[in-house]
Symmetry: C2
Amino acid sequence: MRAQKWKHLIDQRGDHVVIRSIARVALFIVLSFGPGSAVAQNDPLPSWNDGAAKRSITDFVARVTTPGGTAFIPPEQRIATFDNDGTLWCEQPMYFQFAFALDRIKAMAPQHPEWKTTQPFKAILGKDTKALEASGEKGLLQVMAATHAGMTTEQFSKAVTDWIATARHPRFNRPYTELVYQPMLELLAYLRGNGFKTFVVSGGGVEFMRPWMEKVYGIPPEQVVGSSGDVKFGIGADGKPELTKLAKIEFIDDGPGKPAGINRFIGRRPVFAFGNSDGDLQMLQWTTAGAGARFAGIVRHTDADREYAYDRQSKIGKLDKALDEAGARGWTVVDMKKDWKQVFAD
Amino acid sequence: MRAQKWKHLIDQRGDHVVIRSIARVALFIVLSFGPGSAVAQNDPLPSWNDGAAKRSITDFVARVTTPGGTAFIPPEQRIATFDNDGTLWCEQPMYFQFAFALDRIKAMAPQHPEWKTTQPFKAILGKDTKALEASGEKGLLQVMAATHAGMTTEQFSKAVTDWIATARHPRFNRPYTELVYQPMLELLAYLRGNGFKTFVVSGGGVEFMRPWMEKVYGIPPEQVVGSSGDVKFGIGADGKPELTKLAKIEFIDDGPGKPAGINRFIGRRPVFAFGNSDGDLQMLQWTTAGAGARFAGIVRHTDADREYAYDRQSKIGKLDKALDEAGARGWTVVDMKKDWKQVFAD
């Protein structure tokens, strides 16, 4: 397109109209892409208040992207990993994937009359929170097996896509994908704009996350690392190959599983990592133990008004050991209330 | 840079010198990036002889990258997967990873005096091929455990890097990384130049492949899918976190494992896949069963002079069912002898 425009201008031969047109186009190019351009001067993190947290991010990025600088990191090594629940989107009052599972149980109940009298399904259908909690880990696994296995990967993907388009958060009454943190969306874009490759490394199920993350975070499926169950390859009734999800857990991408997952899926140590709980501690340790400049950040939930306030004693997103280690090692701790102008995306 | 150049031209104000300079630059832009450009006319696959195989590739790429065309595939969906052994590099007279394992046994022998009297190690150290073969799968697993586990991921990566830099193929007396197929290197670059993301999906160990593939294939670690063993996260004697490789096999990325591996690591169905053996059949089935334009290719080893000739009866790289299915479904079968001007990279 640009080449054709130039060709058109040249076809008119040299007169001052052409010169002025060229000057205007050239000025546009200089303004848009030049070194001291308006674009570069814009704040890349407008939802972050000025302060130590924001500065630690922009300082790090400036240092590692300055060619010839002592902290320079070549683009192919600019791997940035982000936890998801509580780091990129809200995780209260329950992990959103579990909300999906509960809704699936309700949707599937007509095909399962036996659930009316069997725990933990009976508790879910009767909204009996106490009985559901009493079913413990065994109940949780039963719920996950019933809702996450026994179907093809494509059927599961469709179930997630349908749910995410319609379900709403009980407190905020908004779609779950609107409860992503605006400052973190800006951070993802800012890093990518500086040559980083951004990955999600989450304890959540990888097939629960992939259907919507590209649209919401700009992170493609192949850059989403998560927990997974076994799948079985076979030829379906229609003669086409298919992958069926089995109830067997294959990999838990949480705690010490995060460095293992990074090793397995990415095969390269991140230079930048963000989490929000003790489940991210080992990922942050693994990231910062590498040679050269490294960044570790923690989102601390301090804002009961705009989101939630929880850390050391929380059942979900417990932040205790990792908070101590952040203090000892000088990792960046983001105080949601203080550091973020805006919490959720518009 | 370009913006500055324009600015410099404009500073001189409008005279015919400027016009001529601009005309030259514009002509350069048109020639370099225009639709019928010299660059586009260059053969992107110079080591491929003209013929049906080459044409099927260039036709496919042209069709799926033509905006507005019925077969157009958006760039983010242009996922291309390649088997490695026998597809991107040679796999005879044994998988190169096994040659690495045998060399490691020899290198580690001084620390293992017991190997002098224990099979299968005794057979390897005494070059007793018969006894080694007699040790069967149990022996193979023992060799892999001894050479691929009980060390950190970084120690293993270093062992691979050292070996690949020094070891030589018994017949060709060249480093193994020179026994990659020049036509396939061209194909990888051609696809990437057309917006494809290229992945390796191999039965080989993922940690054996990653240390050299970026340099040799231009494929970064995070785009290498392979078999893997469990790793264990811990804090090492130096107080730093480390991942230790365990002897437990976690995932075999071969046969039906390839679609499973693609699902797990990439999370998107490829539109283009290349293999060379029955171990790639399910990947090719999975790829071609998707909606829209799809490409499946098979490298057939027909060149005993320049490389090797083997297919239906081969112990390594057996190509039997996949060859039948290629015929039935019209997949591209590359006849190495006929279709490739040159086999190995220079």
